[in-house]
Amino acid sequence: MSKGILYDATLCIDCKLCERACAEHHGLPYDDPIAAEEVQSAHKLTVVMAQGDKYMRRLCMNCQDPTCASVCPVGALRKTVEGPVTYDSSRCIGCRYCMLACPFSVPKYEWNKPLPLVRKCDMCADRVAQGLPTACAAACPTGATKFGDRDALLAEAQDRIAKSPDQYVRHIYGRNEVGGTSVLLLSSVPFERFGYKTDLGSQSLPLLTYRVLSHIPNLVAVGSVLLGGIWWITGRRADVAAAEGRPGKGRATGGEK
């Protein structure tokens, strides 16, 4: 059901057609200087990085349980059932918490605009909703970027590693990282070489904050009773002291007299 992208770096030829297709689909400019940029930015949502004859793509991983969607205070970022993590720019207040929180540091900002927005790859949610593959997968001439059902792609990735174990590092990046991602990566060189963190763990990050947030209703209920109780007891103590003629301060229920 849930869709995904499998990128196999061993099949990539660095033609950058995925970059061009992505820019076209998202209405972004694309020319030679931009093609030469090797970092993601607000105007370049995916990049092909090269180190000698080894290549690696970078795009939004479209996490299964996305950190960005959990931290966004206005729900601008959402995980769709088809897989893509979408961004509703009409909600965004520009707080950049998604940028801070994303374990892959994917969301980028329009720093030079007076009214900036966040930009990130949305796995071509509009195309995917119509049953089409993402623009990058459709443009890929070698099949290095492949679109399909995530489960099927995962099985295929395992298969490829099993068939040619010396050609790949034994790691499907995105299978378990932070609870799994819709984008899966295969590589012949360690992922760290291209700046991918391999120590992210398999727990989804939103749990870390949810665990704390879920205590709030209890805290409010117990807290109000506790504070009210203290107010009552300490107030009564002062009243009793006053009635017994001991030097007490009497009860005060509010403002100054």
Partner: protein, 387 residues
Amino acid sequence: MTRFKFTFWKGVLAVILLAGAYATVLRFARGLGASTHLSNAFPWGLWIGFDVMCGVMLAAGGFTLTATVYIFHLEEFKPIVRPTVLTAFLGYVLVVVALLYDLGRGYRIWHPLVMWNPRSVMFEVAWCVTLYTTVLALEFAAVIFEQLRLEKLLRIQHAIAVPLVIAGVLLSTLHQSSLGSLYLIVPDKLHPFWYSPLLPVLFFVSAVCVGLAMTIFESCMSSRHFGKQLELPLLVRLGRALLVAVLVYSVLRFEDLFQRGAYRLFALRSYETDLLLLELIMGLVIPIVLLLIPKVRQSAGGLYLSSVLVLLGFVTNRLNVTITGMEGSAGVRYFPKWTEIAITASIVGVAFAIFALAVKYLPIFSAAELRPAQPEPEAAELLHARS
């Protein structure tokens, strides 16, 4: 003498505001890229780290003191409630002003109130800060009603005072701790000196420390600049509470550093180690030593020094969490651009100016206080005898 001083500070404020005005134009005409050193690698800087994180923390005196007076019925502290509530209210209003600079689309600042995402810590903070600022405004409204002799409104305000205070304490507990929870989501990005599952607890306890320190600091400043009688016996008691609060925080903090094994990183002398030591020594170790000495604890000067150190220490802590601790994983060094500093300084300057004006024109320091207070030494002796 006073007059010259006043003019001097007015001059300083004018220069700061001028720089701030230029920075404001730059910020809104050319965007955050032109007016800050923020980048894709480092999206949160001084405005979040200082203006918001420290701003909210420094305004914690409001809930600490209203709880002391209205919930715990320690009425002797009443004379200093008003200036503290005023500072808290100003603090929160200015935090919102800072947010308008920092948010890419400040005109949508109200969005979290209607576009919900209850899984987001930021959503919760937005709601709490909105509600708490309202609570502070209502608490402070008494002063305005009194000035304008609006008896009926004043009576209504009195009637809801206690529920208001309880709501204020709860809301403060929630968002002071949640500012720490914001960083629970970045276990792989925040340096182990500062990332801890205890972040919300540490942020809350430190807010209480800072609330007490800020109240002492403010009383000392007010007595110096507004000719207000110093409430030394009250400050001495606040000083004792501060000592206990800082001790509690220290136990939590050091135990946490030890249990997570972060202390091992001390061996590697690094930029982070230096700034952690600065935070721990300045904000915890020295104030604890100072406050443990009875002579220091019972003198205005000693209390002033200790509270300033606590404030600086915890400001360093917030900046360490938001900036120092995030630089390593970002792979960049961040130092604010001068325009960022100009806007922060302007906001702080405006806060001081409004406070001074409010003290001048509103009954902030209640009439009782302006009468010559009982001779200080006597009160101090009495207190000494009791403790």
